[in-house]
C-alpha cells in the first residue's frame, strides 16, 4: 500500500524531499517457537553434523567410515559365533570399546573440532547468542549432541553383538545382562570422551590443531598410563597398577566397569580396582564430566561476547 507517492512533475518543496516510504515490510505474527525449540534444533543439527548428514559428501566419508570400521569386527565375531556354534561370544560387551579405542579416539578427535571450532573461527557464536538461547543451552546442546553421536558409534556394535548372540541361541538372560552392562559403560565413555574432546576443541578455532590436540591427549595419556602400569606390574608393585589407571580416560572407564559392571580389566596382570577403589574411579569419571561442562560454560561466557 503505497500511501505516499510524490506524483506528477511538480517539483516538491525543499522540505518535502525526505519522506518515509512504506515498502510493505510485515512484522512476524506467527508462533514464537522459543528457547527450547532453538536448543532442540541446535542439538539435532549438531548430531546430524557429527555424522556428516546435511553436509557435503566429503565430510560424510570419515564419520561413516569410522562407524563401519567400528561395526565390522562385531559382525565378524557374530558370524564366527553362529558358524562355530560357540557357547559364548569371543569378546565381552564391555571389552569391545576398550579394544576399539583407537577408532573412538579418532572419531572424537575429528568430530569435536568440527562441532565447535568452526563456530569460533567464523565468529558465528555471537549469532547463536543473538537468538533466545543462552550459554548453557549452547553448551548443553553441543555436549549432548557429541555424546549421543559417540553413544551411537559405541552402542551400535554392541547391538550387533547382542542380536547376533540371540540368533546364535546363546543364553538370553546372560546376554541381556552383559548387553545392559556394556550399554552403561559406553554411555559413561561417551559422556567422558565428548566432554574432554569439546573442552580441548573449544579452545582453538583451528580445526586441524584441535584434532591433533584431542588425539594427543587421548593416545599419549593412554600410552603413558599403560607403559607405567606395565612397568609397575613387572616391578611387583601390583597395588599401584589400578591407581595409575586413573590418569587416562579409557583406563578410567575400564576401571569403573571392572569394579562394577562385571568386566575383566585390561590392566596388566588383569587386576582391576576393588570396589572401594572403584568408587574413586566413578567419582573421578563423574568429576571429569562435570569439570568439562564447567570449563565449557566458562569458555562460552567469554567467547559469546
Amino acid at each position: 500500500m503505497a500511501v505516499e507517492h510524490s506524483t506528477g512533475t511538480s517539483v516538491p518543496a525543499p522540505g518535502d524531499q525526505t519522506r518515509i516510504h512504506n515498502i510493505g515490510y510485515r512484522s512476524y505474527d506467527g508462533p514464537r517457537l522459543g528457547r527450547a525449540y532453538a536448543r532442540r534444533s541446535l542439538y539435532s543439527q549438531s548430531l546430524r553434523g557429527a555424522y556428516g548428514l546435511g553436509r557435503s559428501v566429503k565430510s560424510k566419508v570419515l564419520p561413516m567410515l569410522l562407524f563401519v570400521v567400528m561395526c565390522v569386527p562385531a559382525a565378524i565375531m557374530v558370524a564366527v559365533a553362529v558358524a562355530t556354534k560357540a557357547k559364548e561370544l569371543p569378546l565381552d560387551y564391555t571389552r569391545y570399546a576398550i579394544v576399539m579405542q583407537a577408532v573412538i579416539s579418532l572419531y572424537v578427535a575429528s568430530q569435536a573440532p568440527q562441532s565447535v571450532s568452526r563456530d569460533l573461527r567464523f565468529k558465528t557464536v555471537p549469532l547463536y547468542f543473538s537468538r533466545p538461547i543462552e550459554t548453557a543451552d549452547y553448551v548443553r546442546a553441543k555436549f549432548a549432541a557429541l555424546a549421543s553421536a559417540l553413544f551411537v558409534l559405541t552402542a551400535a556394535p554392541l547391538l550387533v553383538l547382542y542380536v547376533g548372540a540371540l540368533l546364535a541361541k546363546l543364553d538370553f538372560a546372560d546376554q541381556t545382562k552383559g548387553f545392559a552392562q556394556g550399554l552403561v559403560s559406553v554411555a559413561l565413555l561417551s559422556l567422558l570422551f565428548a566432554g574432554i574432546g569439546l573442552v580441548i576443541a573449544s579452545f582453538t578455532p583451528r580445526r586441524g590443531f584441535g584434532i591433533a590436540a584431542v588425539i594427543a591427549v587421548l593416545t599419549i595419556s593412554y600410552g603413558a598410563v599403560s607403559t607405567l602400569q606395565a612397568i609397575a606390574d613387572a616391578q611387583g608393585s601390583g597395588d599401584a597398577v589400578p591407581w595409575i589407571g586413573l590418569f587416562s580416560p579409557i583406563t578410567l572407564v575400564d576401571g569403573v566397569q571392572s569394579a562394577f559392571l562385571g568386566a575383566t580389566a585390561a590392566f596388566p596382570g588383569g587386576v582391576g580396582p576393588s570396589t572401594a577403589e572403584g568408587v574413586v574411579f566413578v567419582l573421578v569419571a563423574l568429576g571429569l564430566i562435570a569439570a568439562s561442562y564447567g570449563l565449557l560454560m566458562r569458555r562460552y561466557k567469554k567467547v559469546g561476547l
Binding site: 553436509r55 557435503s56 566429503k58 565430510s59 570419515l62 583407537a102 579418532l106 578427535a109 575429528s110 568452526r118 573461527r121 567464523f122 583451528r206 580445526r207 586441524g208 590443531f209 584434532i211 591433533a212 590436540a213 588425539i215 594427543a216 593416545t219 599419549i220 600410552g223 603413558a224 607403559t227 607405567l228 606395565a230 612397568i231 609397575a232 613387572a234 616391578q235 608393585s237
Partner: protein, 239 residues
C-alpha cells in the same frame, strides 16, 4: 631454494602465541614419565628401550610430525591466506622446500631432543639406547615432515589422515600384519637405529639398505609431489 621470510612466517604460524607451549607439553610429559620410571624401576636397558620405542618413537614423533608437517601449510590453505604467499614471485617448490625445512626442524627439536634427554635419564645411554632412538627420531622426523606436508597440500583433512596413518597403520596393522611393517616410517628409522645401537635391544623388520632407500625415496617424492600440488592448487571455499 630457501626463503628466510617464508621460513620466519612458518615458524611463527607453528610456534607463535601459545602453540609452542602445547607442542612442548608432549616432550615434557615424556621426560616426566622417564623420571618416574627411573625412580620406580631404576636403570634398566630393556625398560628404557621399551619406553623409548613404544612411547617416544611410536607415538610422540608421529604426532609432533603431524602437527608440524600439516600445520606448516594446512591452515594457510584452509583459510585461503595462501593466495597472498603464492602471488609473490617465489617459486612454489621453494615455498614447499622452505616449509619442509621448518617442519623438519620443529619436529626434530620437539621429538629427538626430548628422546635423547629421556634416554639419558632412563639408563644413562647404556648400550647406546638413547643415542640409537635419538637417531631414529631424527631420521623419522625428516620422513614424517615430508609425508605430512604433502598430505597438508593434498587434503583438507590432512591431520586426520596423518593420524590414521601414524596410529592405525603403523601401530595397529603393523602389529597384526607383518607385511605392513615394511611400509612404515617407524620401522625404517628403527633400521637405522639398529645399526647405531648394534645390540639386541633395538631391532627392525627392515634391512638397512631397504630402509635407507625407502626413506630417501619417500622424502624426495613427497616433497616433489607437494611442490607439484602447490603449483596447481585450487582454492576451494569452506566445505
Amino acid at each position: 631454494m630457501y626463503d628466510p621470510t617464508v621460513a620466519r612466517l612458518t615458524y611463527r604460524a607453528l610456534l607463535g602465541r601459545r602453540r609452542a607451549l602445547i607442542l612442548g607439553a608432549l616432550p615434557l610429559l615424556l621426560i616426566v614419565i622417564a623420571v618416574a620410571v627411573r625412580g620406580l624401576a631404576g636403570a634398566d636397558d630393556q625398560t628404557a628401550s621399551d619406553l623409548l620405542g613404544g612411547l617416544a618413537l611410536a607415538t610422540m614423533v608421529p604426532i609432533i610430525g603431524v602437527i608440524a608437517g600439516t600445520g606448516a601449510i594446512g591452515p594457510e590453505i584452509d583459510d585461503g591466506s595462501v593466495v597472498y604467499l603464492l602471488s609473490k614471485p617465489i617459486k612454489r617448490p621453494t615455498i614447499i622446500f622452505t616449509k619442509l625445512i621448518v617442519a623438519i626442524a620443529v619436529t626434530m627439536v620437539f621429538s629427538a631432543v626430548p628422546t635423547l634427554i629421556a634416554g639419558f635419564i632412563l639408563n644413562g645411554n647404556g648400550q647406546q639406547v638413547a643415542v640409537a632412538y635419538t637417531v631414529a627420531a631424527l631420521v623419522a622426523s625428516i620422513a614424517y615432515a615430508a609425508l605430512f606436508l604433502l598430505l597438508g597440500t593434498v587434503s583438507r583433512h590432512a591431520v586426520v589422515f596423518g593420524l590414521v596413518y601414524a596410529l592405525v597403520w603403523e601401530a595397529l596393522f603393523g602389529s597384526l600384519v607383518p607385511g605392513a611393517r615394511t611400509l612404515s616410517v617407524q620401522q625404517w628409522s628403527l633400521a637405522v637405529a639398529q645399526k647405531v645401537a648394534g645390540g639386541e635391544l633395538v631391532t627392525s623388520d627392515v634391512g638397512l639398505t631397504t630402509a635407507t632407500v625407502l626413506l630417501v625415496a619417500v622424502t624426495v617424492l613427497a616433497t616433489w609431489y607437494a611442490g607439484q600440488k602447490l603449483r596447481s592448487l585450487t582454492l576451494a571455499g569452506e566445505e
